[in-house]
């Protein structure tokens, strides 16, 4: 029997596999993790504090920088919160453009996850393919909004721009292309034996644990909880589309992979239907006063972002700035379960488990 010694190991804060500035202090005995302590806050910019001095329109660019992989959903959540308070009716075309951009963003976000996750566990080339497809989406969104990541596209009561000429057709063409590529990914990765050995049965948790730790998104659905806000607490116009909520029963890293890949497929379904249903033309901005002042009171809304449930709480005093703005950031909640998952695991599984949670540090730290 080999004699081992306990030692402390710092993973991060600058470590490519932490996907940002995230530090993990692990106590290991040989190869086995005894204890893991996440240290966060390296990217804390005080968005909520800054927002207290800003008008609602000015806050939108800041939300881009929280979950920078799917900025459209962040844009939407604050607009949705203000619109809920003001009881605004959003024009049809604006709603469709919002849904299209959010779903494209969701596909792009899952592609980044797919690519980088496999990169983390040692497969280099899927990353290249995933980013190739993501580039196509980013180009579409750049055409629409004028920026590659920090879109700043939505406004209280609608969207900033109408779709440029031919944009909807290009989105329509993108769907079958993406389907074909997705099939390629399944050929390429899903059946791969090495991949299975790395992820199957790793980082398993139960349904009760998932609910208890307030997990959301694919992290919750991988344990068999059928819970998707788009379906079950429908916002915007999601009730008009046919799509399924992908769930798995196992609760391990592989099931999370399957959930996310399934979600790409479902998002493509939504995009396909939205392009067909989208009105040819129409207003893209509701009648909104130039200075937005929600009535006095408070509101909390939540929507489904690629990482889970993103919420926005606004306490308004009827002024043009919010009195208190709070984002419920899914990555922040999802990350809480990490120490529990890592305990007793092999050191080599650390990255597999961390990557499987799918965090964006801009969002964890707020």
């Amino acid at each position: 029997m080999l004699r081992t010694e306990e030692m402390l190991l710092n993973v991060g804060p600058q470590h490519p596999s932490t996907h940002g500035v995230f530090r993990l202090v692990v106590k290991i005995d040989g190869e086995i993790i005894k204890e893991a302590k996440p240290v966060i806050g390296y990217l804390h910019r005080g968005t909520e504090k800054i927002a207290e001095d800003l008008q609602y329109t000015q806050i939108i660019p800041y939300t881009d920088r929280m979950d920078y992989l799917s900025a459209m959903t962040n844009n939407y959540v604050i607009c949705h919160a203000v619109e809920t308070m003001m009881d605004l009716e959003i024009p049809e075309r604006a709603e469709y453009l919002r849904v299209l951009s959010m779903e494209l963003g969701r596909v792009a976000s899952h592609l980044v996850w797919f690519g980088t996750y496999l990169l983390d566990i040692g497969a280099v080339s899927p990353f290249l393919y995933a980013f190739r497809e993501r580039e196509a989406i980013i180009n579409l969104l750049t055409e629409l909004s004028g920026a590659r990541l920090t879109f700043n596209y939505m406004r209280i009561g609608g969207v900033k721009w109408d779709a440029p000429e031919g944009w909807l057709d290009r989105v329509r063409e993108f769907v079958p292309y993406m389907r074909e590529q997705l099939q390629g990914y399944h050929d390429f990765v899903t059946g791969n034996e090495i991949f299975h050995q790395r992820v199957k049965g790793v980082g398993t948790y139960t349904r009760d644990d998932a609910i208890n730790y307030s997990l959301s998104g694919a992290n919750l659905r991988c344990t068999g909880v059928e819970w998707d806000l788009r379906k079950h607490e429908s916002y915007s116009i999601y009730d008009r589309f046919q799509f399924d909520v992908i769930t798995r029963q196992e609760g391990d890293a592989l099931s999370r992979y399957h959930c996310r890949m399934g979600e790409i497929e479902e998002s493509l379904k939504i995009i396909e239907q939205a392009v067909e249903q989208c009105p040819e033309e129409g207003k893209i901005l509701a009648k909104v006063p130039k200075v937005v002042k929600p009535p006095k009171g408070e509101a909390y809304v939540r929507i489904e972002s690629p990482r889970g449930e993103i919420g926005c709480y606004i306490a308004s005093q009827g002024k043009k700035e919010p009195y208190r703005l709070k984002f419920r950031r899914p990555s922040f909640y999802n990350l809480q379960i990490l120490p529990k998952l890592l305990e007793g695991e092999n050191m080599a599984n650390l990255i597999t488990i961390l990557g499987g949670v799918d965090i964006v540090l801009g969002e964890v730290d707020g």
């Binding site: 966060i40 806050g41 804390h44 005080g46 909520e48 504090k49 809920t84 308070m85 009881d87 605004l88 609608g158 900033k160 721009w161 109408d162 644990d209 609910i211 208890n212 730790y213 307030s214 997990l215 909880v225 819970w227 079950h232 207003k283 893209i284 901005l285 509701a286 009648k287 909104v288 006063p289 130039k290 200075v291 929600p294 009535p295 006095k296 009171g297 408070e298 509101a299 909390y300 809304v301 939540r302 449930e309 919420g311 709480y313 306490a315 005093q317 009827g318 002024k319 009195y323 208190r324 709070k326 419920r328 922040f332 909640y333 990350l335 809480q336 379960i337 529990k340 730290d365 707020g366």
Partner: protein, 295 residues
Amino acid sequence: MTDNHNNDKSLPEQEGLDPTINQEEAPSENQPHSQAKSPDSNQKSDQNKEMDQTFDQETNNDLKEGNETQQQAPSPENPPNNSELPTQNQPTESDKEKAKKKAAAAAKAKAAAKAKAAEKATSAKAEKTEEEEELPSYNQPLLNKYVEVIKEHLGEDVIEEAYINRLSKHVPTIVTTPEAYYSVAQFLKYNEQLGFDFLSDYHGTDFETHYELYAHLYSLLNHQSIALKVKLDHEHPSIESLAQLWEGANWPECEAYDLLGIEFRNHPSLHRIFLGEEWKGYPLRKDYQPYDEEV
């Protein structure tokens, strides 16, 4: 180029007032100048001023009603509406006097445009809210049920307030006493009828007279939401931790401790999660002074 875009950028010659619409602090010299440029804008703005007054009164009444009937957070340092009220509510003020007050005019022009744009919407909305005020919310029976069950099991005096928050998708909202907070939360989670097993959001707010904790709970069993709130003393905010009930409340409590200085008793590892232990002060408090002015 989109329609919207073109509309936004209409030339100043067409709309003389446009440049000053957005800001109170604008150099006031602009105002007379742009009015001079388009003579009919004077008339227009006077009309708008009247409209703006009615509009503001309407909204103010609206808000007041909302407050009396519904809620909640006693506004600490008066909302702007109240402070604006005196000036806005002087319909007898002659037009000449108004012309003198250039800065005020600028502000009013802004509101006028707003009123103009939102006139239809708000008048329609005002009617709508009045109607709603009469009708009980569709969630009222649920709220009644929750309150009844809680009172039955935990006593009459655990609930300070219970109302429907119409602004927030009609979510039933319960405010408990600090003493009963933990037991109410525990009850909401473990009662078979209620089963609020999912903690969706948990955060605190500094309302200057008191701190408030807001927990949005969801029942995956019954597909119902509830907002659980508690008001804390402003001097020494301290409350029983919910982390024993929901593991998911662990970090949000650390966040509230870090940024607001709310102490959670019996928390497994309360620490300053973002800023680090050496940080001075609690940034999200309203009286927070940045420690280092230079940074």
